[in-house]
């Protein structure tokens, strides 16, 4: 008797040509072939996609929620990164 659970995989679907793959959920599968086959059955029963990525969940690394401020707040006051920061005459065209 085997007590081993099939590993968990994260599934990414490309909805149509030209769009990026987007995370849609996860599933269990013994290997990559089964993971893609299961992803097709679980996440694309209604033309939701034309391409599937699967990656074993253990290979996915995430930022810590507690680092959110440190990582993302510094961008908040850098309005000079946006085009509207710059004062230019109204009669200026094509810019």
């Amino acid at each position: 008797m085997n007590q081993k659970e099939w590993p968990l995989w994260e599934v990414f679907i490309r909805a149509k040509q030209g769009l990026n793959h987007k995370h849609v959920g996860s599933l269990h599968a013994a290997d990559v072939t089964m993971a893609i086959a299961n992803a097709r059955d679980v996440y694309t029963r209604r033309l939701e996609g034309i391409s599937i990525w699967v990656v074993e969940s253990k290979h996915l690394h995430a930022s810590e929620p507690s680092d959110q401020e440190a990582l993302f707040d510094p961008a908040e006051d850098k309005i000079y990164r946006h085009p509207t920061f710059y004062n230019l005459p109204i009669e200026l065209k094509h810019m």
Binding site: L8, G25, V42
Partner: protein
């Protein structure tokens, strides 16, 4: 410190900011959600059984492909929800173990038998209909993975209800016997469907906390009333009679009045004494046990393939 965490957690929820798996959450929120999501997942899985009973006996190919697709969807719903539950720290095997041991509950509606083809109609119309009433508000539930799973589920449910109603419509417009079949199915499925919304509000002790956490957005009785109100007109189109002598429009309330629910029956079915409780659990457990060699073989094959790849890499 603890109080601050709790306060900022509640503030996020009040502001409609979703909670994600790695965010701090009160232990009770996690536990309550785990129970709710896993019960929901188990219901989708056990819910395949009563309908699977009729797939091979569907009256024609059109009905057969539709029923097959519906049952396959329910498997998918179970899988979306198990995945959501796993983000709260239980493994899939632990979740299944709770189902198999009888520790975890599933919706009591699936402990009733499917006696005729008309039951496929009544289930799609009423059982999926009641499920939709319950599930649509859950698309805005405070826990991110659960809400996302529910959005997928709800997108797929509408076809379930419509295919069921179409079966009822065809039977109702058919021969006397067919119409009687449809009426009989409605008679048997009506009250169990009404009970799907759970106990009356004054008998639902955890509701207030769940509402505050936004893992429940409407009360059981409000949803039940809404279900009854919309079902009356749907039954009229079918020319069928809802089996309740006290069902009548109450002008002052702006709702239909209905009979008191037989909570003794409800509690009996929950306690495991419904017509099919034992049969359902047995089918689920034996499917798991009989599939064990397949699961093991898949793991053994994957391990062997991985080793082959490793050897190749070393040789190169």
């Amino acid at each position: 410190m603890e109080i601050n965490l709790e306060e900022s957690f509640q503030k996020k929820i009040d502001d409609e900011i979703r909670i994600e798996p790695r965010d701090w959450m009160p232990e009770k929120y996690r536990k309550t959600l785990l129970r709710q999501i896993s019960q929901h997942a188990h219901s989708e899985i056990v819910g395949m059984l009563p309908e699977a009973n009729w797939i091979t006996r569907a009256p024609n190919l059109r009905r057969k492909v539709a029923l097959l697709a519906k049952v396959q969807d329910e498997a998918g719903h179970g899988l979306y929800l198990y995945s959501a539950a796993e983000t709260l720290g239980m493994t899939r095997d632990e979740l299944l173990e709770e189902l198999h041991s009888g520790k975890a509950k599933y919706s009591s509606i699936f402990n009733y038998p499917t006696l005729s083809w008309a039951d496929m109609g009544a289930i799609g119309w009423l059982v999926d209909g009641a499920a939709i009433m319950n599930q649509v508000p859950l698309c805005r539930v405070s826990y991110g993975p659960y809400a996302r799973a529910m959005v997928r589920v709800c997108k797929e449910e509408s076809f379930h209800q419509r295919q069921g109603y179409e079966i009822m419509l065809t039977l109702s417009n058919g021969s006397e016997e067919q119409k009687a079949m449809a009426q009989d199915a409605l008679n048997r499925w009506w009250w169990p469907s009404v009970m799907m919304f759970g106990p009356n509000d004054d008998n639902s002790p955890n509701s207030a906390q769940s509402m505050k956490w936004k893992i429940k957005r409407f009360s059981n009785d409000d949803l039940r009333q809404k279900f009854i109100d919309v079902s009356v007109a749907q039954a009229e189109i079918l020319g069928l009679t809802i089996p309740d002598n006290n069902l009548k429009w109450n002008e002052a309330r702006g709702h239909y009045d209905f009979s008191t629910i037989d909570w003794i029956e409800f509690n009996e079915v929950i306690a495991g004494n419904g017509p099919c409780n034992k049969q359902r659990l047995k089918a689920i457990v034996s499917a798991w046990q009989n599939g064990e060699w397949v699961r093991d073989a898949a793991v053994a094959y994957a391990e062997k393939q991985a080793k082959k790849t490793d050897n190749k890499t070393i040789a190169a």
